[in-house]
């Protein structure tokens, strides 16, 4: 026990005691990013504290997935300016797997199929590599299976599904359930769910949303990227942000989502133009 704690403190990447400093969990300042020559994010500012649920909405192609990808560590995007501070540390140079081990989780809009790798093996590797990073001993087979049984209930996942290859031949609903199942297994501090509601029928939506709610704790935070207010009936956000042309142009309470659902995004554009 003592030994494992020593390892924990000694690890060069491990971020500790950020809470003592009373900082936001995630703080994005003036973030500019591009893919190739195309600038997508043009100065995003965002603060997220533990215990909060944030929703990011906005029309297609305005940078929502880019923002999620950058926080998670996708090197496809180039950050040209600004910083992303997570637990008090700029994480932009941190590799994606280290960010994950530090507690960042991205629920993919299009989860990737990995034929030949079962969900069980995939998760066992992920859980144990994350544990190793934190200086903990790997879970034994029995401990792992117990954890898996427990977490499968969060998204009402069948045993059959868990034995299949990761996302291979899954329906849209199964893929998204699998994302939330992985989130339950990894217990992230900051979960970003990128259009988790797309491609879901009403029942699957309820299961997925209920799963996310079950995972809410005072010491973690969730960012929900969505097009539709419907998901927010289940996952009630503390803040709604509108990401428009690479900037967060409006932030409001959960009622803002209802307004957007009713009026669309046109009025936001008009409001912006009037300001100019």
């Amino acid at each position: 026990m003592l030994n494992s704690r020593k390892k924990h403190i000694g690890h060069k990447h491990c971020i500790t005691n950020y809470l003592i400093q009373q900082m936001a969990l995630l703080s994005i300042r003036n973030l500019h990013a591009s893919i190739g020559d195309k600038e997508i994010l043009k100065g995003v500012n965002l603060e997220i504290n533990c215990g909060e649920v944030h929703s990011i909405m906005g029309p297609n192609g305005n940078g929502k997935s880019t923002l999620a990808g950058i926080i998670a560590g996708n090197t496809k995007y180039t950050v040209t300016q600004g910083e992303v501070i997570y637990k008090g540390k700029n994480i932009l140079d941190m590799p994606v797997d280290v960010r994950a081990a530090e507690g960042i989780f991205l629920g993919f809009q299009y989860p990737v199929e990995i034929p030949g790798v079962s969900i069980t093996n995939f998760m066992r590797t992920a859980v144990n590599e994350q544990r190793k990073y934190r200086g903990l001993d790997p879970l034994t087979g029995a401990e792992f299976m117990r954890l898996m049984e427990e977490k499968k209930k969060v998204v009402e996942m069948t045993t059959n599904l868990a034995n299949r290859s990761v996302n291979e031949g899954f329906s849209g609903g199964e893929k998204k359930k699998n994302e939330i199942f992985q989130m339950a297994m990894l217990q992230p501090t900051l979960a970003i769910l990128d259009e988790t509601d797309s491609g879901l029928d009403i029942d699957a939506l309820r299961i997925v949303a209920t799963g996310v709610n079950k995972l809410r704790r005072p010491d973690n935070a969730t960012v929900v990227i969505t097009h539709y207010q419907r998901l927010l009936d289940y996952i009630v956000p503390d803040f709604v942000h509108v990401l428009y042309e690479g900037r967060i142009v409006k932030t409001g309470p959960k009622e803002l989502a209802l307004e957007l659902e009713e009026k669309g995004y046109e009025w936001i554009r008009e409001e912006l133009e009037a300001k100019k």
Binding site: D97, A100, E113, I114, G116, V117, F122, M123, T125, N128
Partner: protein, 427 residues
């Protein structure tokens, strides 16, 4: 150098002018260390390390078949080819050479000089329940030049699974020019698995010729895990309607190993179906060749033929020559061919790493996933599990501690198997 070895060596320069044999060069392996087999027998018992595989095991040791003739209650005959030729010459002559209408000098060399081999006869309507496993072992304590000839005759509507393993027992050099003929009678079904795990100083020219009558089905999966220089030369002819062929292969090679898969499939009659999938991972200076040739004859309407070869190169020096090739003389067909040489899917890599899995483990996982498409084609479960394990071990890199490996094999890594590996960090 023995005159037979010299003779074989002398054929090569002429053969390399032929497109089909262009990359076949065994010269460096045909040394004067190679002797002709004299029926050397060792007292070792050759075990098969496939757990749970209940098979009829037959061993060809140093080019000779030593088992007595067997005939079971269904009339299935398993015997040495020389022996059966001697006793049932007329019957054997009907089939021997019947699957090889197109001669080539290497084949001819085998026909003239083969020492022995396995003969299998499955009578009409018999479904052989236990797989037949043929183990070709080289274990003479010195270099050997081998020529083995196998013949499988499948009667009408019969069914059998054959596993053909080529194993080295020690590190002595060897060269084998082996021919297997498979006659698949009307409506018969054959599953043929070729496994090759040879030492680096062994060369293997492995010919497989299959002739299929109407409604026959032939599936072959060739898994090459190791071997100095291996050429799998496969020719399959569909001589009736409604035949189905599946020819798949997987090769994992490193150092200076060479692997060469040639697959010729002839569609001569309507409504036949063929599918080829060959995949390979090459490390160090390894060299692979894929040469697929599908010939669709004038009368072969409603043919379906698909051909695919995919490769991953881990280093700048690894080399692949790939040539998927369709030759079609009919308009009413559905055919495709393609090949890829590339690296791992970045999107998938990001997905795996985003779960906290290190880059190295993620690459290993994806390499395994790449192989899995071929491994899935092995329907015989104990064999698939064993090969899956061997492939995992081949890919596991320097992770000798099982608990740290991303692949979690079902049997622990131990012994000499773990010494060969493909290193994913070079990607």
């Amino acid at each position: 150098m023995d005159s037979l070895v010299q003779g074989f060596r002398d054929i090569q320069p002429q053969m390399r002018k032929n497109e089909v044999w262009r990359h076949v060069d065994f010269t460096s392996m045909l040394t004067d260390q190679l002797l002709l087999p004299k029926g050397e027998r060792q007292t070792v018992e050759y075990r098969c390390n496939i757990p749970d595989l209940d098979a009829e095991r037959l061993v060809i040791e140093n080019g000779f078949f030593h088992h007595p003739q067997q005939q079971n209650e269904d009339g299935v005959v398993m015997a040495g080819l020389k022996d059966i030729c001697h006793r049932r010459e007329e019957f054997v002559r009907q089939y021997l050479g019947s699957c090889t209408p197109k001669q080539n000098p290497y084949l001819k060399y085998n026909s003239e000089h083969y020492t022995d081999g396995l003969f299998v006869y499955v009578p009409d309507g018999v479904r052989v329940k236990r797989p037949i496993q043929l183990q070709s072992v080289v274990n003479a304590g010195h270099g050997l030049f081998l020529q083995v000839r196998n013949l499988v005759v499948m009667g009408k509507d019969s069914c059998a699974t054959i596993i053909h393993c080529d194993d080295s027992y020690d590190n002595a050099p060897a060269f084998a020019n082996n021919v297997t003929e498979i006659y698949v009678g009307q409506g018969a079904q054959v599953e043929y698995y070729k496994l090759q795990n040879l030492n680096n100083s062994t060369g293997l020219l492995n010919h497989t010729y299959a002739s299929m009558e109407q409604g026959a089905q032939f599936r072959s999966v060739a898994i090459t895990l190791n071997g100095g220089h291996i050429r799998n030369h496969t020719e399959i002819r569909m001589l009736g309607e409604h035949c189905q062929v599946q020819a798949h292969g997987l090769y994992l090679n490193d150092q200076e190993q060479e692997v060469d898969n040639y697959v010729f499939v002839e569609h001569a009659f309507p409504n036949c179906h063929s599918q080829e999938l060959f995949k390979g991972i090459l490390d160090d200076q390894a060299h692979a060749t894929f040469n697929g040739h599908v010939l669709v004859q004038y009368g072969a309407t409603k043919t379906e033929a698909y051909q695919s070869n995919k490769n991953i190169l881990l280093t700048d020096k690894a080399l692949v020559n790939t040539k998927p090739f369709l030759e079609i003389y009919n308009d009413d067909v559905k055919c495709s061919h393609g090949s890829t040489i590339g690296q791992l899917d970045e999107q998938a890599l990001f997905y795996i790493r985003s779960r906290g899995i290190s880059e190295r483990s993620a690459r290993t996982m994806l390499l395994y996933a790449f192989c899995d498409e071929v491994l899935k084609q092995i329907y015989l479960e104990p064999l698939r599990e064993r090969l899956t394990d061997l492939v995992k071990k081949r890919l596991h890199g320097e992770l000798t501690l099982c608990s740290e490996c991303a692949l979690q094999c079902s049997t622990p890594c131990n012994g000499p198997e773990a010494h060969f590996y493909i290193d994913p960090s070079k990607l």
